[in-house]
C-alpha cells in the first residue's frame, strides 16, 4: 500500500508498485491536466512537483513516492504560480497547449528556486520541456514577466 499526498489530500494506492505516477494521476485520480507525451522522460509534458521539486511522473513508479507530497497543475498555488498564470495569460503563451501544464510546472519550480532567473538559467531549467508549437520565446518572456511581477 502506497500512501501519498496529492494536491493536499491524502491518497492511497494498492496496485502494481511499478505503475507510473502519471497513470495514477490521470487514470485513477482523474486529474487530466498532467499530460502523457512520450512516456520516457524525454518531453516534460508529465512534469509534477514531488516534494517541491520538478519530477517526470511518467517514469516515476508509484512505489517510489510513498510518504511524498505530489502537486499537479490542478493544485499548484502560491505567489510564483499566480505570477506565472498571469504572465502566461498576458502573453498568450500556449498555441495548442498540450505541453503547457508541464511547462508551467517547470517554470513555477524554477521561480521558487531562482526568483530572478537569467536567460541562461531559464534555458537550463526548461530544456527538458519540449513544445512542438515552438512557443519557447513566449515561455521565456513570460517567465521574465512573472519574475518581474514578483519583485514589486
Amino acid at each position: 500500500m502506497v500512501t501519498f499526498t496529492l494536491n493536499g489530500k491524502e491518497r492511497t494506492f494498492d496496485g502494481d508498485p511499478d505503475t507510473p505516477l502519471l497513470w495514477v494521476i490521470r487514470d485513477l485520480e482523474k486529474l487530466t491536466g498532467t499530460k502523457y507525451g512520450c512516456g520516457v522522460a524525454q518531453c516534460g509534458a508529465c512534469t509534477v512537483h514531488l516534494d517541491g521539486m520538478p519530477r517526470r511522473s511518467c517514469i516515476t513508479p508509484i512505489a517510489m513516492i510513498d510518504g511524498s507530497d505530489v502537486v499537479t497543475i490542478e493544485g499548484i498555488s502560491g505567489k510564483e504560480a499566480e505570477a506565472v498564470q498571469t504572465a502566461w495569460a498576458g502573453l498568450d503563451v500556449p498555441q495548442c497547449g498540450y505541453c503547457q501544464s508541464g511547462q508551467i510546472m517547470s517554470a513555477v519550480a524554477l521561480l521558487q528556486m531562482l526568483p530572478k532567473p537569467t536567460d541562461d538559467e531559464i534555458d537550463g531549467a526548461m530544456t527538458g520541456n519540449l513544445c512542438r508549437c515552438a512557443t519557447y520565446h513566449r515561455i521565456r518572456a513570460a517567465i521574465h514577466n512573472a519574475a518581474n511581477s514578483m519583485e514589486g
Binding site: 522522460a41 513508479p61 524554477l110 531562482l114 527538458g128
Partner: protein, 213 residues
C-alpha cells in the same frame, strides 16, 4: 468537439514521435565480459610491466561507456554504448547534479526504475542514491588509458585522494558499483567490482605504473 479531439490527438502523436526521435536505441544487455584475476598477473616477472598490465586489465572497466559517460570532457553527460550526448540536453550544474530546475533527480531516482508500457528498446531509467557527474577535472572522455592512469594518481585531478583512498573508491564506492548493476537493457562493465578492486589494489601495490600516454 471532434476537431478539438483530432487536433489533440495529432499533437500528442507529434510529441510522442518527436520524443522518439530524440531517443537513441537502448543498448541490449550482452555478455558482460570478464576480468582476469589480479593474481593471474603474477606470471609477469617484471614488476613495472606487471603493474601496467594490471591497469590495462582494469581499463576494460574504466574506459567502458558505463563509466566514461559520466566522466565527460564537456558540461554535458553522455548516454548509451554509442556515447552520444545525453537527451534531454542536461548540463553539469553545481556538484555535478544538474542545473537548477533540471537536476538529475528530475528523472533519475535512487535506483534503476523500470519503464513500463513502452517499446522493448527502453527497459529502465538508471538511478543511484549518489547519481551525479564526476567533476570536470576527472574527465575521462577522449583520453587514452595512459592519460587516465596519470590522472588517477594526481591529487589535483582525483579529488585529492591518496592511492589507498583510490583503491577504496574503486573497490567499494556505490556509484562506481552501479556500473555492474546498470539496470535492465544496459550492458554492465566487465567482471565484478570485487575483481576490479583487486586489480586496482594490485596495480597500486606494484608501483601504479601507467601505460604509455
Amino acid at each position: 468537439m471532434k476537431i478539438t479531439l483530432l487536433i489533440t490527438g495529432i499533437v500528442a502523436n507529434c510529441l510522442i514521435v518527436g520524443a522518439g526521435i530524440l531517443l537513441a536505441p537502448a543498448s541490449v544487455a550482452q555478455n558482460a565480459g570478464s576480468l582476469r584475476p589480479a593474481e593471474s598477473f603474477q606470471s609477469i616477472p617484471d614488476t613495472r610491466a606487471r603493474s601496467v598490465a594490471l591497469f590495462e586489465e582494469a581499463g576494460k572497466v574504466i574506459q567502458h561507456p558505463r563509466c566514461v559517460n559520466c566522466h565527460p570532457a564537456t558540461e554535458r553527460p553522455l548516454q548509451g554504448m554509442s556515447m552520444h550526448p545525453h537527451q534531454p540536453p542536461v548540463f553539469r550544474g553545481d556538484a555535478g547534479m544538474g542545473l537548477v530546475g533540471m537536476q538529475c533527480n528530475t528523472c533519475h531516482s535512487e535506483q534503476n526504475t523500470p519503464v513500463v508500457g513502452q517499446a522493448d528498446t527502453l527497459k529502465s531509467i538508471p538511478g543511484n542514491p549518489a547519481w551525479h557527474l564526476a567533476p570536470i577535472e576527472m574527465a575521462w572522455e577522449g583520453k587514452t588509458l595512459g592519460q587516465i592512469c596519470e590522472q588517477l594518481k594526481d591529487p589535483k585531478r582525483n579529488g585529492e585522494k591518496t592511492m589507498a583512498e583510490m583503491v577504496e573508491h574503486m573497490a567499494h564506492d556505490e556509484l562506481v558499483g552501479w556500473g555492474w548493476q546498470p539496470g535492465e537493457g544496459r550492458e554492465p562493465v566487465p567482471g565484478t567490482q570485487d575483481e576490479f578492486g583487486k586489480l586496482i589494489q594490485a596495480w597500486v601495490d606494484t608501483g601504479a605504473a601507467c601505460p604509455s600516454p
